[in-house]
Symmetry: D2
Subunit: 295 residues, 4 copies
């Protein structure tokens, strides 16, 4: 049976859990899973976050029909929820597990993250459709083709950047893409692109905020760090400064050259990126300033 996932952010106040939980209970809709968090940031106003997974079977119940009207449906449910949210000053979004989000992967020449995401999606670990792969090189076209995913090679240089980004945006729109994943796309995106695009997740091959910028493994080697990390974050105008979704690190030692650090790094990267994409698709991630709440 279909499920809906509601993700809510509201100014904190007493009774919010009861209000949101009762909303669904009173409609005869069962909450299958829920989690919540109230921010502790003393410097700002406290906020409340909640994620609710609701079984939609109840939409056919007498109660639901009574309360939502003859046409008890996802749309009327959303309308009713919107009224509650407005009352509570909440922002919210909803997704349905029988409606897979469409994802665009942007890549350059490295295949590890591309393969990893596609294979996980095929395995059923990422609830999405990989609608297309876009690259500034043709290198990975055979990979996309072997999985029968449309591939677009859009070369770019400093002169054609604006135009290339426009074409990416057009493809993104035409394919109804709601998430862009930079799976080792070695180009900086313009503010304009980020402003117009759906959410963009990037993987940085370092433990941010250390080693920002280029060649983080070489920086790490030169500094002699004993851990190699990776960071998945939402892309924002300030490169490498977007809200962090997921990080991890693996131990390394002096005996490893920059090559081996890269190899270790690739292992961390793809795991971290996959976890971040998964959390986003499962509607677990709320952005709160420079931070994220992962419910």
């Amino acid at each position: 049976m279909a499920q809906a996932i509601f993700l809510v952010s509201a100014p904190d106040q007493p009774g919010l859990i009861a209000r949101f939980a009762s909303f669904f209970f009173d409609l005869g809709l069962n909450i299958v899973d829920s989690s919540n968090h109230a921010s502790r940031d003393e410097s700002a106003d406290r906020r409340f976050y909640m994620r609710l997974v609701v079984d939609l079977a109840g939409l056919a119940s007498t109660i639901a029909l009574e309360r939502l009207g003859e046409s008890a449906s996802r749309r009327t449910l959303e309308t009713a929820f919107a009224a509650l949210a407005t009352e509570l000053g909440a922002t919210w979004s909803v997704g349905y597990d029988d409606h897979k989000e469409k994802v665009a992967l942007l890549v350059t020449k490295e295949s590890a993250c591309l393969y990893d995401l596609v294979l996980r999606q095929r395995q059923g670990d990422l609830a999405c459709e990989i609608a297309l792969v876009i690259s500034n090189h043709a290198t990975l076209e055979p990979v996309a083709e072997s999985f029968r995913i449309p591939f677009y090679a859009l070369p770019v240089d400093s002169k054609t950047k604006a135009e290339q980004e426009s074409r990416i945006l057009e493809l993104v729109r035409r394919h109804h893409v709601s998430l862009v994943v930079l799976a080792r796309y070695m180009q900086i995106l313009s503010d304009r692109f980020l402003g117009d695009a759906p959410p963009v997740i990037n993987i940085h091959h370092g433990f941010l905020p250390a080693f920002q910028g280029a060649r983080p493994y070489h920086q790490a080697f030169a500094r002699g760090v004993k851990l190699i990390g990776a960071t998945a974050h939402y892309a924002t105008k300030d490169l490498d400064e977007g809200p962090i979704i997921e990080q991890d690190a693996l131990r390394v030692h002096h005996g490893m050259g920059a090559d081996e650090l890269s190899r270790i790094g690739r292992d961390v990267e793809r795991v971290v990126l996959a976890r971040a994409v998964r959390a986003h698709l499962e509607r677990r991630v709320v952005i709160e300033g420079r931070r994220t709440i992962v419910l």
Copy 2:
């Protein structure tokens, strides 16, 4: 302001989150933190678990006075909650953050876990009072004394075991102890003791269920494992078979002898034991057959 922590386990049914959350909201009591889980064990009936941290400031509110009577208090709150729990077939417990649980530590000769728990308690990381230390040897008496904790040396051999356990139980009762921690207490406790004592948490210096029984590091060395683990669990009649609360593991290599494995192991042990004791004291742990739910 004081807080109460309610921990609930009930047969699953629609509306439980709303029911429990509304109970407190309707009394004017704010839920500061909450988490819940519904078991997925298909072989058994689904159960629902919830932990609610409630701000007791609301007990002085007009609403509370109205609903709980003039004497709105922890006792009347508990009575009201008990009625709801009975209706829902739930088992539950409650604790108050201004009432510290009293803990007894049972040790033998090794000091690492003893020091670790006492220091964390002094640091404010374990919300409890370490009421007494009991040992079958006098070795660690100076350690307990340096922290001004009562120490009881109760030697034991096969003949005096029943009597010694009775004396431990007597001490436990006299000090109003509600949690016994086996901080490397190298004696097997009888079924009778475990039946009469409050909950008992044990630390096993291995990754259970591997390496049950004695000398797990020697077993681990002989088997050439590449990770050394530790397991904190509730003690039950079947040694090393009680519900696992927490586990962790560290990497080791062929170059490490049994001595070094022990050293590494001690580091894992004390961290794992401290996390388990902390989770228990914060009322996060529900026992469900051979498993635990850590909310």
Copy 3:
């Protein structure tokens, strides 16, 4: 320039490092990398293990020509080394980095480990040639084909097992395979097969020695463990009892069902298997009874 990797195991005695290092130095061959270990197992005779990576450029030097004869070559070098080894009672093997080992992958229906090994090999992280993929099902044929690796479907049932294994052995021989990797091959291999085959590395989806046998994730779930592990080991007659090469574990929690444990498990498995295969190919692994030394 080509390099040779010597892997040596000998009864311990004073001067072994000097003897082995001087052997190459006296021939004008530079040692690029070396590591060694002396066992500490008190119950047995001490043994000494050494791995030496030698730059073969020196084979063209005057010294080498003088000492190994006009035909200073890999063969004469090996002959000279064999004489030293005999004198010291050592067993040894040698490999050359310009001669890639041929590997056979045995699979069933799951693609994760297959993809992972092939992609790492293509990336240059595994110095071998994947000569063929053998399966008891045809499911993964398209995967092998997309990488242009020969694929053989050899169905098996209890009646045809002996014959099927003979055909595998024949393929292994015909392709000059020196390492067989069970990349989630869900069949038990007979003693006869293991006796006749080159070394066989298996991945067990659990933290051995816990959860031996079938369905380890379901066992892990039922026991409520807080870590999910994987173990790569040499296959021996006693299933799940072979010398462990590599292990790792990831944290899990009560909220994860058997499905999610499997997903987490797959991530650990493929990393652990790849590390084990890599260590074997780099001639780092010495088997010592039920243990391994990974130099």
Copy 4:
């Protein structure tokens, strides 16, 4: 029987392993353990590092007496080794396992790292003598006293800094201290102090090079990182820029406030500091510019 540990750094050239190993073998001294590494830093000249643990029992052998003279002793052994080192352009140091290094701990008010190091030393895990504890506050005097370690309270402010540092240096000299450990000593040391003092190891409560400077946990919280790390490094003039000896990190999540990050951080810190001190005492650490080699 006593052992010597030689730690060597030399310009790389063929035959170094043979040269160093043969030196001891030719004297009848058995090498119990050894490891080596050649740097791969292409930008600089290649260097070779070797650590050799030598059994001194052989000093009484006929061979040793013959070669080192009637007075075969540690001194004559060192003289002979010095000659070899000079020939090879090597720098080196030697330590003896029956001569424990004397260590000074500098602390302020936090006890966790102090307890941890003292307890490990008492347990036999750190082969040193903790000669004295110095603090700018009297807070931890009872802790030092409970272990019968001399404690010196040397308050400091901006005016008295030079004088206070002079007194620390004087104490360090008087107690023959060869290693200073900053176990959460919350003062910046002057260049002059660092120039005159023996090696100084510091623990930074963050994953360097991220979060340099003050209040790293608050920085980490504000940035929303998902891992909390700690870094042990040699103190140099540029604070937080000294060569890193050891690092580690633990996972954290959005639900943790700055307090809990601190608690998690303390666990990482003390483990990381203890490992670094241990590696230094075992003569495993070579400083190479801004990096370390940990053999």
